[in-house]
Amino acid sequence: MSATEFFQNVVNALQWGSFYALIALGYSMVYGVLLLFNFAHGDIFMVGAYIGFFVATAFLALFASGVGIITLPSWAILVLVILATMFLTSFVGMAVERIGYRPLRHAPRASAAITGLMIGIIFETSILAMFGAQRMKFPELLPGLASASQPTFGGVIISWQKILIVGVALVLMLLLQWFVSNTKWGMAMRAMAFDFAAVPLMGVPLNRIAALTFALGSALAGAAAVLYSMAYPVLDPYMGITVGWKAFVAAILGGRGSIKGAALAGFLLGFIEIFAATVFPSTYRDLIAYSIILIILVFRPHGMFGEEHTARLRL
């Protein structure tokens, strides 16, 4: 592998790592706070992409230069599309929690897992029913970006788009980390992860924090969906499945409930996949990548940053 190829791969790995990390955070937070694997999360990502499609189409019609009522620069439209998609996708997550999981809070864990899978199927088939099987093309949010002169780094061309995707993902992760460490809602989430039953005694409504956890995770999935659709602009109802399962693997690899772990494992997964594909034939990529992860988990069954603590007694 030449140095140029190597750097290209690093950049690709960072881009894929960004998708995995953003989605993995949603799995991990929900697991940490509610001891629940939200198996509908990959499909929340997919719904986020469709929401992003409509938001982007609408905002371009409203604000793009030449057609819009008010003209905004395309970076501002992009920011608005990401924020609006995050906002709307968070309601998808809250609805899943409220309708699908809350009634099962005291049911066996397997019921919740099955419910998650079913909600996922319902999302996929509803989207299929609404928009048919034809694949939709995500609108170009930053026209001219691909044709602009791209930055080079040590002779390697790195696309603006990849820098943008990784940058936005990093900013969102840092914001999440800040939120969870410094706000009272973040404290409540961490307290809930430690000892569910003692939280109401602090005057904290458990249901509100559960909803918030889903909202945050789904908002990040919505952001991931917009970024993903910028890189791979074709939408289809099953686009959340593979990415979703891989992000789930990243969440496990990072350590269930660990924000830092989910983010780092997302990037690690990106690197393992991309570099497995450069060394081995690309059809072997996932076989090799996931064998490596299996080996890591044999040695660190709680993941990279997972703790054994699960003392969540009842009161």
């Binding site: 009272k184 404290m187 409540a188 961490r190 307290a191 992860a193 430690f194 000892d195 039953a197 003692a198 109401p200 005694l201 602090m202 005057g203 904290v204 409504p205 458990l206 603590h309 007694l313 009161l315």
Partner: protein, 236 residues
């Protein structure tokens, strides 16, 4: 009457934990319920905090039933704080974060600083350990944090589940003195204890709970002098 429990029945499945108990707590009192393991002490407090369903009977706060009030509102709206059995502090949060989380629902933001300073005057050790992870505190310090945390949630009534559990005699005395001090500042206290002697010394009145029923009640001194209480709870 500030808090009244009337004919309270609580069951866990087919286990009848409380079989019709009655007691009252008046504003400003320190009241103690003593009883052996499994008598139903924790269940009584869980019922007041609305953490377990009530089969029969009622719990009245200022004369009004609170059975429909959700647990977080018992704390934030009625002002009844709860120091649970086994402390249950959040070990992954710092001391400061535990105390901050306790003020989550408080609307009187201007008083938070005052209450916090007051808690530091009662438990100076907490102030020295503000940025320490609560899980690394000693057992005694964790108990102080549990009490301070409860006080920060609400200061009208504090209910405590065996606050002396696991404390060395000297620390136990310190803990009860702190509770007495908190009570002097206006917080009504209801505590349940197996350690009957110490608890009755600090309480004005007491109740004796035996397998889900109140079998004796009266001023603390009377209970301390009662031969049956002496035999069963005070080591002869």
């Amino acid at each position: 009457m500030l808090l009244s429990v009337r004919n309270l029945h609580v069951s866990y499945g087919h286990i009848k934990a409380l079989q019709g108990i009655d007691f009252d707590v008046d504003e400003g009192e320190i009241i103690c319920i003593i009883g052996a393991n499994g008598a139903g002490k924790s269940t009584t407090l869980r019922a007041i905090s609305r953490l377990v369903p009530v089969q029969k009977g009622d719990i009245l706060f200022e004369g009004k039933s609170i059975l429909h009030v959700p647990p977080e509102k018992v704390v934030s709206e009625l002002g009844i704080s709860h120091v649970p059995e086994g402390r249950r502090i959040f070990g992954n949060l710092t001391v400061k974060e535990n105390l901050t989380l306790a003020t989550y629902a408080r609307k009187d933001k201007e008083n938070i600083k005052r209450d916090l300073e007051y808690m530091f005057s009662v438990f100076p050790r907490l102030e020295e350990r503000l940025n320490q992870k609560a899980g690394t505190l000693s057992g005694g310090e964790q108990q102080m944090l549990a009490v301070a945390r409860a006080f920060m949630t609400a200061r009208r009534v504090m209910i405590l589940d065996e606050p002396s559990m696991g404390l060395a005699p000297l620390l136990m005395l310190e803990m009860f003195k702190a509770l007495e001090e908190i009570n002097r500042e206006g917080t009504t206290i209801l505590l349940v204890e197996q350690n009957a002697r110490m608890a009755l010394k600090f309480a004005q009145r007491g109740y004796v709970l035996e397998t889900g029923k109140i079998v004796l009640q009266g001023p603390s001194q009377e209970l301390l002098d009662n031969p049956d209480v002496k035999k069963a709870y005070l080591g002869g």
